[in-house]
Amino acid sequence: MPSEFQAPANVTLRPPVASLGPLGWLRANLFNSWPNTILTLLAVWLIVRVVPPVFNWAILDAVTGQQSAAACRAPGAGACWSFLSEKWRFILFGLYPPDQHWRPALVVLLIVTMLIVSCDRRLWGWALAAIWLTGLAVVFLLMAGGIFGLPYVDDTRWGGLPLTLIISVVGMVLGFPIAVALALGRRSELPVVRALCIGFIELVRGVPLISVLFMASVMIPLFLPRDVTIDKLLRAEVGYALFFSAYLAEAIRGGLQAIPRGQYEAADSLGLTYWQKTSKIILPQALKLVIAPMVNNFIGQFKDTSLVIIIGIFDLMMTAKTALSDPAWLGFYKEAYLFIAVIYFGFCFFMSRYSLWLERHLHRGQRR
């Protein structure tokens, strides 16, 4: 029997206008309380103050094409993109001989391709190690030349984006095995090995990267025999890889600690040796757990490549600064820094999105 309180079925009341559509969205998200309204108004004020001037500067008033610095210095002129059209090749490739610029360009392309390929989970394992070692060998052949008819280019003339990428990925490739060894050593049952690993990790993590780079550039030559000299770039690279291996080791240790004891005991009871147990049971699980923190580590490491300019290596930051010190083009720092900022941001943002995606993707099994 139908209840007398039941609403008539043919009448559908529409919700109030103010709670629907864009208006409703505005009310619900921006003006739902007094403090929120004030915050919204402040944010709008900020946007109005910032966005139009920046738009005018970057687009409407900008000086483009092959113009002189004088045109950019005219009153009312905005961004000087002419500065970039004049200098972009120098900023990207540094002092590399201009007629050979296709080589560093190819190197950048190769490294970016390898980075993208590394994102594919199906390749994780020895295949990836093989790809990187071959790829880096090709990178060095391309950069240095001296065979296959390529003119030899000394590494003091390398510079710009390819150098930044090389320092960063070589740091990763060198640092990763060291980091795994340190992380395993820190959990070793041999007291001497454990103490050494803890000492190294804590020492390195307690000091700034600059001091390690100074050490690499100033102290390593002192510690070598008289007739042995190591290239400055290589010294910086060694310092850089050791520095990051300590941070990476801590990330990996987190994964090792998260493996349940039963996994170790099961491996032991199967009669596996230490190395079999580590390489077949423990590391594959532990590394999977810490991929996202490791990618975050790589982001920090990539940003910190810029510190090598303090010991005089010609990376992307240094080429931008050098381009800025050209007496004819003094003062266009916003354009130069914006240009390299876009490059740095592109790499870092891509990696951070990838690590977020990976985190969700890899933990699908554990999610409730």
Partner: protein, 397 residues
């Protein structure tokens, strides 16, 4: 197998020497490692000594007592080029500590605000906060430092056309000038009064807590502390005679006199560190608040707690447990990143050490000093934060 047989095997396993005994192997590996390390160190040190002798570079820390003979623009303690290298290092250390301390306070305030705004239900505000965090976090600190340095030294006008957003505050390419109260002793008295008030507030808090445990009666600690912290310094100021004179910076010739001047280098490194670290702190705060499950707030609501109480008694203490360890590492990062001051010429410890290395050639000593100082700071900060963390950590009973 009889009992005695198995006992015999057990004894053989514990006392007999075998290459397959894990303990023997462990011992052998460790001896090998020690030999390698000692041998390597001996080789490197003998090389270093030979090289130093050949280049006739002195060793040891005797140079610290010699005259430094270089000038330092910013010194918190008296310093001249006739002072010793040790004094120069002290000046550098104080400059590092100054920028780190001010930076930590400002970055924590800004970062907490941005982290909370990013969680705000206000769409526009949370998007703006997210853009700020993503942009600052994904650009190298050094790039941001160079940018700020050029903003100050290239874009800001000279002292004669200095911007003055507030009366007595001048922004120019020579740095930022701020007014300070002219009466030094009065300022000191007010500062002492402030510290006394803080100490009293802590005392009141402890007393109120004991009383509540004993009797169940609550005491409005927050109000009492506000009254104390605001009141005692004002009373001290009135007692001195309420001096209002300010030491205003004013344009004299080509520069400013009076007030305090923050050099462009100091402002650069401070702005860079604060904006960069605040983005990381914002993420730490956001993650910490998100880590407190919504059920906790609901349970508190069901118990009849008010909104402020829920935040103060339920959410913040639990979020703190997640936040504190990560905040520690951000503070340490800020302190270590302050070494980038060398890139813009702020005279911090690293840049002083760099100058002394260039002058004396004693690289090993200079770098050891840098490392020892930073290591000490890191260990002290982590010790303090670990102690603090233990206080707020989950107590499992």
């Amino acid at each position: 197998m009889t009992n005695s047989q198995s006992r015999a095997i057990a004894t053989a396993q514990t006392s007999g020497f075998s290459l397959y005994d894990p303990r023997v192997r462990g011992l052998a590996y460790q001896v090998l490692v020690i030999c390698l390390i000692v041998g390597g160190a001996w080789y490197l040190i003998s090389n270093a000594l030979a090289n130093l002798a050949r280049q006739s570079i002195a060793t040891g820390f005797d140079f610290l007592s010699r005259a430094a003979s270089f000038d330092i623009a910013q010194h918190l303690i008296s310093y001249s080029s006739a002072s010793s290298y040790l004094r120069a290092y002290e000046v550098g250390l104080l400059n590092t500590l100054l920028v780190a301390a001010v930076g930590i306070v400002l970055a924590t305030v800004l970062g907490t605000a941005v982290g909370i705004l990013r969680l705000s239900g206000n769409w526009l505000v949370s998007r703006l906060a997210a853009i700020y965090v993503e942009v600052t976090r994904n650009l190298p600190l050094l790039l941001q430092l160079f940018f700020w340095y050029d903003v100050i030294t290239v874009t800001l006008p000279g002292p004669r056309e200095a911007l003055s957003p507030l009366p007595g505050v001048f922004l120019s390419n020579r740095g930022f000038m701020l007014p300070v109260p002219a009466d030094g002793p009065a300022l000191l008295a007010v500062a002492v009064a402030f510290l006394v008030a803080v100490a009293l507030s802590v005392g009141v808090d402890i007393w109120a807590r004991r009383r509540q445990y004993a009797t169940g009666q609550q005491f409005p600690v927050a109000w009492a502390a506000t009254v104390l912290i605001a009141g005692i310094p004002i009373l001290a100021w009135l007692a001195i005679g309420a001096p209002t004179a300010m030491d205003m910076p004013s344009l004299v010739g080509f520069g400013f006199q009076g007030g305090i001047t923050m050099s462009p280098e100091f402002v650069t490194i401070l702005l860079g560190l604060v904006f960069y670290t605040a983005a990381f702190i914002a993420e730490v705060v956001r993650a910490g608040i998100l880590a407190v499950s919504w059920g906790q707030s609901e349970a508190a609501l069901a118990l009849g707690l008010r909104r402020g109480q829920i935040l103060r008694l339920i959410v913040v203490p639990q979020a703190f447990r997640v936040i504190v360890p990560q905040l520690t590492s951000e503070f340490l990062n800020l302190t270590k990143n302050s070494s980038l001051a060398v890139a813009v010429g702020y005279p911090d410890l690293v840049s002083i050490a760099n100058t002394t290395i260039n002058q004396t050639g004693q690289a090993i000593e200079g770098i050891s000093i840098i490392m020892a100082v930073y290591l000490t700071i890191s260990l002290l900060v982590s010790a303090f934060m670990n102690w603090f963390n233990k206080r707020v950590a989950l107590k499992e009973r």
